[in-house]
């Protein structure tokens, strides 16, 4: 993958085209500066129209998106971003240096280590939930599960607070099989994610069973039948939005934006960099969806619930994650999308410092790790620390999952303190924490 072009460096305009076909105009300044200047000088018509439209979707001014790489099962902090090699709790995991001076991560992540300077690391996440479903709810929403009120996931909040315009496809998408996907919660089912179980090829349920005149006949009959039903039930049937939902679904089925769900058009080198795995394709689709204007994308990688054979199991998942995450962060940067896209890499909790008799680690919500990058997240920061001997339960500078929610929302430009009125008539803050000091860039 390409190295991240820095603001001050010369870049090649339209570098997505094959070299032989591109107008290789080498100019000074970043791509968005050039496009902005072209627009300001009234010569934007000289730019290819698609490029201009794409440019409007890039850079810091672009509406922000969120990509959450969800490591389902609870990834071990000791085998990812907080290794303690050479200690009683460290196991056989080794550590390697990263581009953040003085910071080491697990050696299973060499490609991420080379790019860690783009990230910040929280090593002191704490949650009160040690069960998968409850822990997932806590991290995804920032709230403990509540028997009375269902809270929305961060992705749903973003789609609600920053609704996209001109988007035919859903603003919140979940890629890959996930037992406990994010939900719209009290915002309603329309903020649930659109789920694609096998990412990379097409959206879910978008191809009609028939087409042409036969599909037209079906739809004509359906609309006629619905009108007949509504004839003497006008107001309540209108309130069901049944016909509106049908038309919206049909519009989505024919949208050009659906191309974002397929990686077939991507060069083989790009697909290879992400990895020819479901998760790798999901990450690539996530980048494409961000380009299309989707607000929030969850990509799930299973296999981190390592109660037994923790080290070998984790190594297999690390191979998938390392390549895909590195490729994603490079790709976003190359396409000038990183400044407007927050990337969160986390799971529902961490794993115990102690190694159990099955060479596994159990659930541990008392001090685990996550990565953050892009958007308004400051890079190169390391927050908190866990006890290298595993004796203390509480990490240094604990960051609650509510604080994590507030941090992500703040990095997305959302007022995390804003209160929404819930169906119970009780106002609830978007996040009941505080952004982590030092993690939000100016």
């Amino acid at each position: 993958m390409k190295r991240m072009p820095l603001e001050s460096e010369n870049v090649i305009l339209c570098n997505a085209l094959p070299a032989s076909e591109e107008p290789r105009v080498i100019i000074s300044g970043s791509r968005r500066h050039v496009l902005a200047a072209a627009g300001g000088l009234g010569v934007s018509f000289m730019l290819p129209s698609l490029r201009a439209r794409a440019a409007a979707r890039r850079g810091r001014e672009r509406p922000r998106s969120l990509i959450t790489l969800w490591l389902a099962g609870g990834p071990s902090q000791l085998e990812t971003w907080d290794p303690h090699p050479g200690t009683a709790i460290g196991g056989p995991t080794r550590a390697i240096s990263t581009t953040i001076p003085g910071l080491q991560i697990a050696s299973d992540y060499p490609r991420v280590a080379e790019r860690l300077g783009r990230f910040s690391v929280i090593r002191s996440l704490v949650s009160r939930e040690g069960d998968h479903q409850r822990g997932t709810h806590a991290v995804r929403t920032g709230y403990r599960p509540d028997p009375v009120l269902s809270y929305p996931a961060l992705g749903a909040l973003l789609a609600h607070q920053s609704p996209p315009t001109g988007l035919d496809i859903p603003a919140y998408v979940a890629l890959g099989a996930d037992a406990f996907p994010g939900r719209g919660g009290y915002l309603g089912g329309r903020f649930d994610p659109y789920r694609v179980f096998v990412p990379g090829f097409a959206g879910q349920n978008l191809v009609p069973h028939t087409n042409g005149p036969r599909q037209d006949r079906r739809l004509t009959a359906l609309r006629g039948l619905d009108m007949h039903f509504a004839a003497s039930r006008g107001v309540p049937v209108a309130a069901t939005l049944h016909d509106h939902t049908l038309e919206a679904a049909l519009a989505m089925m024919s949208s050009e934006q659906l191309a974002a769900f397929s990686v077939v058009a991507e060069p083989a080198a790009v697909r290879s960099a992400y990895g020819e795995t479901s998760f790798g394709r999901g990450c690539l689709v996530a980048r494409r969806l961000v380009e299309a204007g989707v607000r929030s994308i969850d990509v799930t990688l299973q296999g981190f619930d390592t109660h037994a054979a923790n080290f070998t199991s984790h190594a297999a998942q690390a191979t998938i994650l390392d390549g895909a995450l590195a490729a994603l962060i490079d790709d976003l940067a190359d396409r000038d999308l990183l400044e407007s896209t927050v990337v969160l890499v986390t799971g529902e909790f961490g794993r115990t410092p102690q190694i159990n008799p099955l060479e596994g680690r159990d659930h541990w919500p008392h001090g685990f790790s996550c990565l953050l990058a892009g958007g308004g997240i400051a890079s190169g920061r390391v927050i908190g620390a866990t006890d290298p001997e595993g004796r203390l339960r509480e990490p240094e500078h604990p960051v609650t999952v509510a604080d994590l929610s507030a941090t992500v929302l703040a990095a997305l430009g959302i007022d995390w303190q804003r209160e929404l009125m819930t169906p119970l008539g009780r106002p609830v803050k978007l996040a009941d924490g505080t952004p982590v000091v030092g993690l939000i860039s100016g």
């Binding site: 009375v148 879910q204 349920n205 028939t210 009959a221 003497s232 049944h242 089925m253 008392h366 009941d432």
Partner: protein, 572 residues
């Protein structure tokens, strides 16, 4: 809530530790099950000495039930008159029958049953079929699914110690056997034993985490489900709008302080004193953690609570554990809140929406029960009677309100529509829950009735298809519109295609092949999907759909159209 994504039938896999994940993944297994099932089924059938009761063979509800229904109608009629409205006309009997099946059994009637109903000329056929549906095992399974969802939530729950399948199956058995709901509640609150051998304890173990029961979760659940009080906020502070206090909540929670969970099951042990946990309404306030490794919760130093109840102290009596006394208190004949909460939930089961919303926040009862308070009428009857939920449901479904059409002239007038709805002058629309929707789709594509007497492989396929559908469809709310992804599942989903497919084994295929005319095909498909016959305008509209291609293609198009219609997706 009570309407979420439980499975529609008792799983043929109940008791298995590993549940199947996908219909397609298990096709080889299905064939094996089919062969074995056919053999075992024939042996079992041959060994049966008595045939099961069918809906049309059951005696109608008693005069007492009809009188109760009349008292309910009197309350509603006053409301309708006060709103200056006329009630909607009564719906066709077949549509009322459809409502009964959807509400009480979570599916639509089969063509087989509808034909039999239409041939039934007895004047009280609706009453008889109502009693029959309530006596049907499908109804017990459906109601148990609804109640299990309401009583233990929709989350998976803790591994090993919570067995939703066992809990639901036990509930279904109890309802089918006509147990008093009071007894069922008492078992759930006070039982000891293993989650498999004594399934009632799953009510308690669902609230377990890390081997310890969360007393606060149970207190909130008891208050909401059995008393109709949203009490949860009192865990952290006195209720801001109601007279409930934090002390009362802690006392209720302390009733579960003696619960211990071990590999041998649930038991009561230790002093009935609850150490008060640090309030944690949100995940934001991380308290200092105790350094005692044996204590997995952060406690407030010196705060203790002993078992007590927020009202009705004289009923909190009896021997045994504080849980046993709590069960006695909840189900006491004078505890009108219990009866009112049950009544509100039964109303929601029948109508798709509760009499009072939210369903678990029922208004305080008046000083004395009155004939103008519907929840009191139903609740007092429930408490004074046998406590069989089915009798309460029978009374509700026997009302004129339940049998009114969902069409009303006022519903086309935006200025009057709200009054029509709130006064119950017309039957309200409610979206089918996902489990009901898939059950209805599967039943509609089978001309014969799918019930517990169906061959094992039929039930297995149905179960696996339901799992697949619900995984993809997600949850829905009875009053919220479906989402676009949900519409896409119905429009383009694999299951929708498979169900509509006209082949020699499928209902649509048999309708296409055996019917003599397109009019007949249309009529049968309407009966299967919408439980009624098409009118003339619908015939004019839809016959061309059947005439455009082969009978097989035409019937596939028709089933697809009907499955995606508002009339199919919304109970009405």
């Amino acid at each position: 809530m009570w309407f979420e994504d439980w499975l529609p039938l008792s799983s043929p896999f109940a008791g298995c530790v590993v549940m199947p994940q996908s219909f397609r993944d298990l096709l080889p297994l299905i064939w094996i099950v089919a062969v074995v099932g056919a053999v075992v089924g024939s042996v079992v059938a041959a060994s049966r000495s008595t045939l099961p009761s069918h809906p049309w063979e059951v005696e109608p509800p008693s005069q007492v039930t009809r009188e109760l229904a009349a008292r309910i109608d009197a309350v509603i009629n006053v409301q309708i008159s006060a709103a200056g409205l006329e009630p909607a006309a009564l719906a066709e009997d077949v549509l009322v029958l459809r409502r009964m099946w959807l509400a009480l059994a979570g599916t639509v009637p089969s063509v087989e049953e509808l034909r039999r109903f239409e041939a039934d000329s007895r004047p009280d056929r609706l009453e008889r079929w109502l009693a029959g549906i309530l006596a049907d095992r499908r109804s017990a399974d459906h109601l148990a699914g609804l109640l299990a969802s309401a009583l233990t939530g929709n989350d998976g729950g803790p591994a090993f110690v919570f067995r939703r399948d066992r809990f639901t199956s036990w509930l279904a058995d109890a309802l089918h056997a006509g147990w008093s709901f009071k007894g069922i509640v008492a078992e759930m609150v006070a039982s000891t034993g293993l989650w498999t051998g004594t399934p009632a304890v799953n009510f308690v173990t669902q609230a377990a985490s890390a081997g310890q029961v969360d007393e606060n979760t149970l207190a909130g659940r008891v208050a909401r489900c059995f008393l109709g009080i949203q009490f949860d906020c009192a865990q952290c502070h006195d209720h801001p709008f109601a007279p409930w206090t934090q002390t009362q909540f802690e006392g209720l929670a302390a009733c579960f302080a003696t619960v211990r969970i071990s590999p041998l099951g649930v038991r009561d042990s230790g002093p009935a004193v609850l150490r008060i946990e640090t309030p944690m309404a949100s995940a934001g306030a991380m308290p200092p953690l105790t350094t005692d490794p044996d204590l997995k919760k952060p406690f407030i130093a010196g705060r203790r609570a002993v078992p007590q109840v927020p009202f009705g102290q004289p009923w909190f009596t009896g021997s045994g554990s504080s849980r046993a006394k709590l069960a006695t208190w909840i189900t006491h004949d004078e505890n009108r809140r219990f009866g009112r909460a049950v009544a509100n939930r039964c109303w929601a089961i029948a109508f798709g929406r509760p009499w009072h919303e939210p369903i678990d926040d029922v208004p305080d009862p008046s000083v004395e029960p009155g004939e103008s308070d519907l929840l009191d009428i139903l609740g007092c009857d429930f408490c004074a009677g046998t406590g069989d939920l089915r009798q309460t449901l029978a009374a509700i479904c026997s009302t004129a309100a339940f049998r009114r059409a969902s069409a009303h002239p006022g519903l086309n007038d935006p200025s009057r529509a709200a009054a029509v709805t709130t006064s119950w002058a017309a039957f309200p629309l409610s979206q089918l829950p996902p489990a009901t929707m898939i059950s209805a789709m599967i039943q509609a594509t089978s001309l014969r009735t799918i019930d517990p007497e169906s061959p094992l492989f039929v039930r297995t396929i149905r179960f696996l298809r339901a799992v697949d559908f619900m995984r993809e469809y997600g949850r829905s709310h009875p009053h919220e519109p479906a989402t676009i992804p949900q519409a896409l599942v119905r429009l383009n989903g694999r299951l929708a295609r498979e169900l509509c497919e006209a082949n020699v084994f499928s209902g649509p295929g048999r309708v296409a092949g055996l019917s003599q005319s397109n009019t007949s095909r249309l009529d049968t498909a309407f009966l299967a999907c919408l439980s009624r016959h098409p009118d003339a305008s619908e015939q004019r509209m839809l016959i061309p759909l059947l005439e455009a291609g082969t009978p097989a293609r035409g019937i596939e198009d028709l089933y697809w159209t009907l499955f995606n219609s508002a009339e199919f997706c919304w109970n009405h």
